[in-house]
Symmetry: C2
Subunit: 234 residues, 2 copies
């Protein structure tokens, strides 16, 4: 699976969140980093080239800090320029059909404020409806958004978790299922193991085996519970 | 009541809808026309001047054709630039508090497609949530949007109705109540009467009187129906 991450930030260089995310994907071969500020500051936006780029990926990510309940203007400009009606749905090919659209957005406010009665009063799902509608129109699958809330206040442990979850979001074909998340993590750990010296690899393998073992037991238990539910007629 | 109409269209000159709306408000003294393309094409955006402008109006209108379920990028750029947190809610003054925010948007698709199962699948209300959230955050009253669907296919009669409704939307303090709409219309007709030669004025006055008479009878009937409902215990 190939992923294109389209970043809309008016000043990427000064953003610690964007720097963190850039580092998180740096060694992932199947991910392409595509910041829009470079594109527009040089007035190099080439519509056909952008369209051509999009067709080469399976998962397309819009990544941005939330500005007034939407992306910064840059991404909208890119949408208005690149996503011509002909490209998206008028022509026979419907170039984006079957692809996935994901959103990675960072918030200045705690997530709990994004609900009725909270300071922001509306949910992230509601705010992102224009993107969901775009996905619908293009025949794309809209992924559950990846929301980073108050990155600046995160502990190092939370940041490490955020990093792994982010990598999972942009590279795991079935990122949203627990079993798949685990499978993906074991795969990542195995890749990481290769980079260790031989003597460390053995110890690391024991850790992986333990996780695998836990996963198997969990799957077995799940199966049993399902069987019992069926018998009870739930 | 003073109204500021902020227009976001990448090419206003070629838009028949925008030309129509511009003409519709041309003689309304309390309305100020503020197209953003001029502002940005000359790189003359002066944040403080824009903020100063906003504080002088009671009703602020965002007017744009719907592009990918939102405004063209220009308005978002203006929001990102001008609506600083300090201006909108951080400082003591909360400069927009108590004002009204209205949306005038034109659609290429028939309105019936903007619902579940329709081509667009989402309602206008849903798509405009980012603006409603902005109004909420700024302490503004969010007005029911004014939607112009498929202007190009409108008959002349429909366009005339659209013109009057639009004028009502941007100038009538209580535009959304039937009784107020009528009151506003009679006022407009009286102003129009002044522009006629004396002999025509008399005939025109008869028309106004008739409308006024109808309005009075309607109000009386409404009152009676309400009385009956109360007695019946509805």
């Amino acid at each position: 699976m190939k992923t294109l991450v389209i970043i809309s930030h008016p000043d990427i260089k000064t953003s610690t969140t964007q720097a963190f995310l850039r580092d998180a994907q740096k060694n992932l071969k199947q991910v392409t980093w595509h910041p829009l500020d470079v594109l527009y500051s040089n007035y190099q936006i080439q519509i056909e080239k952008e369209q051509q780029l999009l067709t080469q990926f399976d998962r397309i990510i819009f990544q941005f800090p939330m500005y007034w309940y939407s992306s910064p203007a840059l991404l909208k400009k890119w949408e208005d320029d690149v996503l011509t009606r002909n490209f998206v749905y008028l022509s026979e090919q419907a170039s984006l059909k079957g692809k996935e659209l994901g959103i990675v957005t960072s918030l200045g406010m705690p997530l709990r404020e994004y609900q009725r009665g909270g300071v922001e009063n509306f949910s992230i799902s509601e705010m992102l409806i224009p993107y969901q509608a775009l996905a619908k129109r293009a025949g794309m699958k809209f992924l559950k958004p990846f929301v980073i809330s108050q990155f600046a206040y995160m502990t190092n442990q939370k940041r490490a978790k955020c990093l792994i979850d982010y990598q999972n979001y942009i590279t795991n074909p079935k990122y949203d299922h627990f079993a798949n998340y685990e499978k993906w993590m074991i795969q990542q750990l195995n890749e990481f193991k290769q980079t260790l010296p031989d003597d460390k690899q053995l110890i690391f393998q024991t850790v992986i085996d333990q996780i695998q073992n836990n996963a198997d037991q969990l799957a077995e238990l799940n199966w049993e519970v399902n069987m019992m539910k069926k018998k009870e007629g739930y």
